[in-house]
Symmetry: C2
Subunit: 430 residues, 2 copies
């Protein structure tokens, strides 16, 4: 904090000190977000790598270790590097994260994610020894990727700057949607390669498609211009139509009529291309996030410097005459304030304005922040509701999601509202 203003030498705290402290706090947060951006980027890349490894591993195991061995070994090496970069990014902000009370919850989820990654070597060993089946592999990757994405969700929770928080919300939802897309690729591959879809598998496909849509809806609401353009390009790509047709087969064919197994490779390639395009969208959001941070950071530094000079001059002038103006930011008639305007008027008015301007700015920011926080809260509530349903009804994650959607449709309500009602009800029922 080169720009950190020395607290005044007098023993007591002054309004000017805390006005500056308030702005310095904003700058500290922006510095922290810049580092957080690098961490988020490394998570995104690692998740993409693990999704590729999941796909390759499933093809490898599915083919009795005949196919994809070489492609897979390349991916493994790449992922070791991506994991190292992720750990490096963590090490870089470890100091910041652990010496400033940021969010014990964020730190706890980082610990979970790191612990999952620690298992990667052992898991690959099982694969090499063919002690792991396709289903096991899928579950293991899904869980580890979930841990990593949760870190980004928790990071987004700690952001206090509206436009920046919005971009992180967009990023984490495109990440999450892309992961559902990856799970759909796995489910589809299992079905097509076996030549038929059990009902359970068809239902899972439907669930994953719907889950993706919900994520992308939120993404669109918070996306940057560039990423939105890329998203529209992806949507209008001819590939989407072909995927749609294959999805129809997957959910309509049923367990008896069998499918051409050749479709498996086609499906895998289509979904892989789709995920690569989604990664490009993710990168463009990350890019927008970074530029927004730098932009806001520069603004904040400038306005801090401006305020420092202004206050310094005011404090000199007021060494003798204290400013005599009331700060009222609570809707109280401002004439009250003016009523006490005395000799200090000029300087009083200035400090008064600075303090009031800051209060107004912060209030406006907290209002703008609302929608981003709500998007994150909605997702949190839905996860709670799903866990509740899984425990109370002893059903699977998929089934709980489906049940939640059914409740929403039957009641003609928004999914988050139903989830909220459910969670609060459970609280009442104990």
């Amino acid at each position: 904090m080169n720009s950190k203003r020395q607290p005044n030498t007098t023993a007591t705290a002054t309004a000017a000190d805390f006005l500056m402290a308030s702005r310095q706090c904003e700058i500290r947060n922006l510095e922290y977000f810049l580092q957080m951006g690098r961490l988020v980027q490394s998570v995104g890349n690692l998740v993409h790598g693990l999704q590729r490894e999941r796909g390759a591993t499933n093809l490898y195991l599915g083919s009795g270790c005949q196919r994809f061995a070489r492609e897979r070994s390349v991916i493994l090496k790449e992922n070791d590097q991506l994991a190292a970069i992720f750990r490096k990014a963590l090490t870089d902000i470890q100091e910041d994260l652990t010496t400033h009370p940021v969010s014990s919850s964020l730190l706890g989820h980082i610990a979970s994610a790191l612990h999952s990654l620690d298992q990667l070597a052992g898991f690959r060993q099982k694969v090499a020894e063919q002690e792991a089946g396709v289903a096991d592999a899928t579950d293991w990757f899904c869980d580890t990727i979930h841990q990593l994405i949760t870190v980004v969700f928790e990071a987004a929770e700690t952001v206090a700057e509206p436009s920046i928080a919005g971009l992180l919300v967009a990023m984490v939802h495109v990440m999450n949607g892309k992961e559902y897309c990856g799970q759909e690729r796995a489910a589809g591959s299992a079905g097509f390669s076996s030549g038929h879809f059990e009902n359970a598998l068809s239902r899972r496909m439907m669930h994953l498609v719907e889950a993706q849509e919900r994520c992308f809806e939120v993404f669109v609401a918070f996306a940057s211009e560039d990423s939105l353009a890329l998203w529209q390009a992806l949507r209008s790509h001819p590939r989407e139509l072909e995927i749609e047709r294959m999805r129809q087969k997957a959910v309509s064919v049923g367990p008896y009529k069998s499918l051409d197994r050749e479709m498996a490779d086609r499906w895998f390639n289509l979904m892989t291309d789709r995920m690569d395009d989604l990664k490009k969208i993710e990168d463009s959001v990350e890019n927008a996030f970074h530029h927004r941070c730098v932009e806001r950071y520069t603004e904040a530094r400038h306005s801090l410097a401006h305020h420092e000079t202004l206050l310094a001059s005011l404090e000199q002038r007021n060494a003798s005459t204290m400013p005599v103006l009331v700060v009222c930011d609570n809707g109280v008639d401002a004439s009250t304030a003016d009523a006490w305007a005395g000799d200090g008027q000029q300087s009083g008015r200035s400090i008064f304005d600075l303090v009031q301007e800051q209060t107004r700015r912060l209030r406006q920011m907290s209002e703008e922040l609302q929608s981003a926080k709500e998007a994150l809260e909605d997702r949190r509530t839905q996860e709670k509701a799903v866990l509740l349903l899984m425990e109370h009804r002893d059903i699977s994650n998929d089934e709980a999601h489906r049940l939640l959607r059914k409740l929403a449709m039957d009641q003609g309500k928004r999914l988050p509202d139903v989830a909220r009602a459910l969670v609060s009800m459970a609280g009442v029922l104990g």
Copy 2:
């Protein structure tokens, strides 16, 4: 952070580092709350002093500077000390507040409060020169006290520990209720001493009574046992009945039939005793808050120490064999986790448990925190709604509050829900 665990000497971040960091973060927060408690206490005392000065100043001005001169001069001296203690408390945590990104909004409101206090001397000058009327004085004190109470609200927003946050919510609502009580004392004194209540003044009395009730409802929902007992004692005190009767006169008599002016002193004394009892309740909440912080702090330190020894021993044991267990805290079938349990089983299971326990604890805390956050959010939303109504309809703060209550009654909804609907509507209407 004497207990701060040195990050491992290897270049990369480990799960154990961040597990410890997560717990250390909790401890940092508790240390911060302990200091915050002292600040809140100094605010409570200063607010009480300013409320006494407001009462004395009004009696002094109301009597043409004949009465209460001596009592008032004593209060002024006491308040200078209380203000000094408040500034001292701020200076003590200034370092913490300004070097850790706590909340730029909290810091901004501290700046506002300090700036209001800077006007105290100038304002007293006006009173001495009789350039300030009773109404001006009341407005000035109301605004400054509002600034101070807002600091406590903002401080409560930064608390992440459920039971501690709940006590701060109780404290700030009893503070706010007590201030409405003080404003009712002023309004009543004006009416009784003038011998009659204009309709506007009667309406204001009604508004202030209802506003108090709403604050005390929230207080009761979050109060500690002791403070709740004190509250019930206050409620059943014979004084309440006499106040009720005088309130009835104030709202029913109307501008024509005149009242016995002797009632003014009686009213002032009754309400003053009531405010002193409310202060005692406030102190007992503050007391409970302090003890809860110390309690939680000690717990946290113990469990951190326990985890450090445990992890240290585990890391030695695992120097060679990496633990090979998946962390799954997302409702994924735990058998997946066990599936990869290998030689590292024992140690893996242990670290796995520690990490999972922390995730579970934090999730539970964030759920418990919900209700406290909602109480604060409700208040924030209502303030927004009131400001909106004041601006759009060009009405006073009181009228806006009344209108909001009327909307709630007409729609048979909770006040916070109506306020939320109003704010969101305004957002849509732009």
